[in-house]
Each structure stands twice: as structure tokens, then as C-alpha cells.
Symmetry: C2
Subunit: 132 residues, 2 copies
DNA sequence: GTTCATGCAAATCGTTTGCACAATG
DNA sequence: CATTGTGCAAACGATTTGCATGAAC
């Protein structure tokens, strides 16, 4: 996404942001499109995506993606946490025990029942921090 | 992916699993394809994907995806953890403090420098556990 | 010999982009 | 009026799939 641009306001973008703020959910582009197409009969999905990218660039929203645009596969089927290097992008299995206390924390303090969790840590791997 | 099937062995699938076990990395389908195309000159990407799905079905490998095949967006830009309901799939922002101790744990016990982390909890949301 | 896997190519699907026109400032 | 945004449709790229042939058991 192109940074350091100036943006004009648009009614479409204002509404996309409003909708994202109203809903407690984490909608897809298509959901936003469906919600708004009555209001903007000629709305196109391209507009939704372009505006979402602008809002991301402005730091007004976040995308729940996970770094890679590709599916990634691993043969380590035991539960484990991942470390992802900000610089080189490599994904590393961590040799740390799974912490069941985290699930309890959710169960004690929220109305949800956590059975398991995933953690991804981000930072610098040893290679990259030595290189610096 | 179709479950409850029987699978014949194939040299291609054996090698895909072997490669995934050898590499400490978390490769993409395309990386596996590139590695194996010398060994199987007529190999196609379709075969890679089909076999990866079979291996997933057999529980021999894991995919590092994150539930949704769609990008998802949210207006809550403050750091927070997510809860994802196994039954209805909804993604919910958790009102729990971020735990900096988790990063220290990585920094103390591994050669990596963790600066931040993400957690996704999985289980049942209040709606779905009441429904049961 | 029946079932499953492969190679090939086309299809699918979420997302991006080029272009002519409309809206913004 | 100079720039940015929109709608439309085509393009893109990762993944999936239909089909005829080959391998497994």
C-alpha cells in the first residue's frame, strides 16, 4: 500500500469506517459490501478493498491476517508456539511449555470458555539480531 | 477435505511428508513443489496441494492458517487478544490485559527477541455454550 | 480389476488494478 | 483545475478441480 499520500474524504470510506466501529464483529470485505450496496447502489468491491487499504494505511483499522499470503505447512503436530522474525520473516517453533493458565484467565474473567490457544511472538531471531 | 477415505501410498506424498519433517521451516506449497520437481519431472502443483490436504486429513501435518480464508478487518486498533468460537466461528475482542511477561519468557529461555505477541483463544462463546 | 493418485489445464475465488469519469478541495 | 475516489471489468495469484491416464493393492 502506498504510504505518504494525502487522502480526500469520501462518503463510502466514512461509512466503511463507521460500520467497522459499530459492529463488534471482524467482518470481511464482502460483508461490508453487502451492508453498503443498498446505500450506494453502484458500489463495487474494488472500492471496498481500496478504502480498507487506505484506512489501514491511516492506522484507523487493523487487518486480522497472519503475515503470509500463502498457506504454510509443518510436520510438528504437537502443540507449540511460534516465533516470527520481523526482519527475515522466518517462522520458528518455540520450545516453551504450553501455558494452561492463559485459558483459565479467559475462563475466569470473560463469559467465554477457552479450551486452547495459539500464540505467535514477533521480534528478531538470533541471526537477525546478531546481524544488526 | 473429504474425511473417512482410505488412501493409497504414493511416492510423491511420502516425499512431501519427509521434506516437511526434515526442514525446521514452515514451507509453502510452492517451496515443496520447487524442491521436488527435479525428483519428479512431471510433478504438478495440484499434486502438492492434494497431498497436503490428505496429510492434514490424516493428522500428520498442520496448516498454519488462521481459520478464515478471508481477510478480516476491525476498527479496534488497541492491542488486544482474540477469542474465536469453535462452533459459530465468531471472532471476539477480549477485555484482558496484554501480558508482557510472555515476551520475557521467550527472551529468557530462547535465543529470540520477542517484542510483542498475538494470542487467539479457541473454545465456545457464551451464546454457543448456553445453546448446548 | 477396482480404487486411488497423478499430470495437465481450466476453473475458482478473494483481492488488486487500469482506465475513463465523477467527486473533492 | 488539480488531485483523489469510484465503478466497471479485466487481471492476478494461490488453491482447487475435472478428466483421462497411471500406480497401488
Amino acid at each position: 500500500m502506498a504510504k505518504n499520500r494525502r487522502y480526500n474524504r469520501s462518503r463510502q470510506r466514512d461509512r466503511i469506517l463507521e460500520l467497522l466501529r459499530e459492529t463488534g464483529d471482524h467482518p470481511t470485505a464482502d460483508w461490508l459490501y453487502t451492508q453498503l450496496k443498498d446505500e450506494f447502489p453502484n458500489l463495487s468491491v474494488g472500492t471496498i478493498y481500496r478504502n480498507l487499504n487506505i484506512l489501514l494505511d491511516q492506522g484507523l483499522i487493523k487487518k486480522i491476517d497472519f503475515g503470509s499470503t500463502f498457506d504454510r505447512f509443518e510436520a510438528n503436530t504437537a502443540p507449540h508456539y511460534h516465533f516470527i522474525c520481523d526482519r527475515c520473516g522466518s517462522i520458528i517453533d518455540l520450545d516453551l511449555p504450553i501455558d494452561p493458565d492463559l485459558d483459565s484467565r479467559v475462563n475466569d474473567r470473560t463469559p467465554y470458555t477457552a479450551l486452547r490457544h495459539k500464540i505467535e511472538f514477533f521480534g528478531l531471531c538470533n541471526r537477525c539480531s546478531n546481524m544488526q
